[in-house]
Symmetry: C2
Subunit: 189 residues, 2 copies
């Protein structure tokens, strides 16, 4: 997706240790018009899949997910990163974050993810794939089906993309970062 | 806003202690088409105000805020509820949540809220007003101006609305809940 790649090269910031910050337009300050263009691209890339629900994880997945849901008039659910007081009717999975060096739980009410559901999962980043695997665990627990997973940015030099594609999941990443070595952003053409 | 009021009466759930759950269409599962209609109504109600940025707090404020930003082609910023590792360039305010009975910090990068900004704040709920007061503190710290505050649902029997209106702030709430006594939802006409 040309517009997104150009924007990452223009406004993305690269730091030591493979860190890419896109917080001026994706995950702290957000450009809603870019977000809509991103959603249109997801709709196009998953045109061959059947799904009735869009799913994401709070917080930075919500903006692209709600835009996809709006374009397709489908409900959007987001997994929460904190266990609520009452866990009745809750699906829950543990996720290890390499970025934050800690474990957290993602939770979703069973009321909103049921055996009949076919889910398109949307998130901002795919890196080690741990959050995505947690989302798949929630979908499995619910007895629902995963139709595909769309990411705005994939760090292709990390393992998540490989793990998910090896499972035969339809993965679409709108920008593939091949390397952040020497604090330079290399995006796949 | 008639559509919203009808939806709250139809799908909202009321529990002991003044708790209103709208998590089947606003803050866990979201109806993007309703969210767009909500955003259109905010645009209409703040038509007389000048602002260049939409602000919210993660996570449930993001969906209505991004829709408002999309309609007006304005950047959207969301305050984070966790202090990041590095606090340089960070605005921060402490918020006490009555619902969760604990304090938390909301943070926002100084890069994205500056003295020239005029901000429209959007959130899902106004109850005690503590989160809104935290947002105002961030805006003050940045030297920015607040143009108005829009809430999807106001619990009019709690103090937040009074506190904010007494400060002379332009407040718009799309549904005013007058009472949740005896687990019945009373919405103002």
């Amino acid at each position: 997706m040309k517009l997104l790649k150009e924007r990452i090269l223009q406004d993305g910031k690269c730091f030591e240790g493979g860190i890419l910050k896109v917080d001026s337009f994706i995950n702290h300050q957000m450009d809603p018009t870019l977000m809509k263009a991103i959603a249109v691209e997801f709709v196009r890339r998953f045109a061959s899949e059947r799904f009735n629900k869009v799913m994401t994880i709070e917080a930075s997945g919500i903006a692209p997910a709600i835009m996809v849901g709006f374009l397709l008039d489908l409900p959007v659910i987001f997994a929460k990163k904190k266990k609520p007081k009452t866990m009745e009717h809750m699906l829950s999975a543990r996720v290890f974050s390499f970025t934050k060096e800690r474990e957290y739980d993602i939770c979703l009410s069973r009321d909103f993810l049921t055996p009949g559901d076919r889910v398109l999962f949307i998130d901002d980043f795919l890196a080690n794939g741990n959050a995505a695997l947690g989302a798949i665990e929630l979908i499995d627990q619910a007895g629902a089906q995963l139709a595909g997973m769309g990411f705005i940015i994939e760090k292709a030099f990390q393992q998540g993309g490989g793990i998910l594609r090896d499972r035969g999941i339809h993965i679409e990443s709108l920008a593939m970062i091949d390397s952040l070595d020497n604090c330079r952003i290399h995006i796949r053409d």
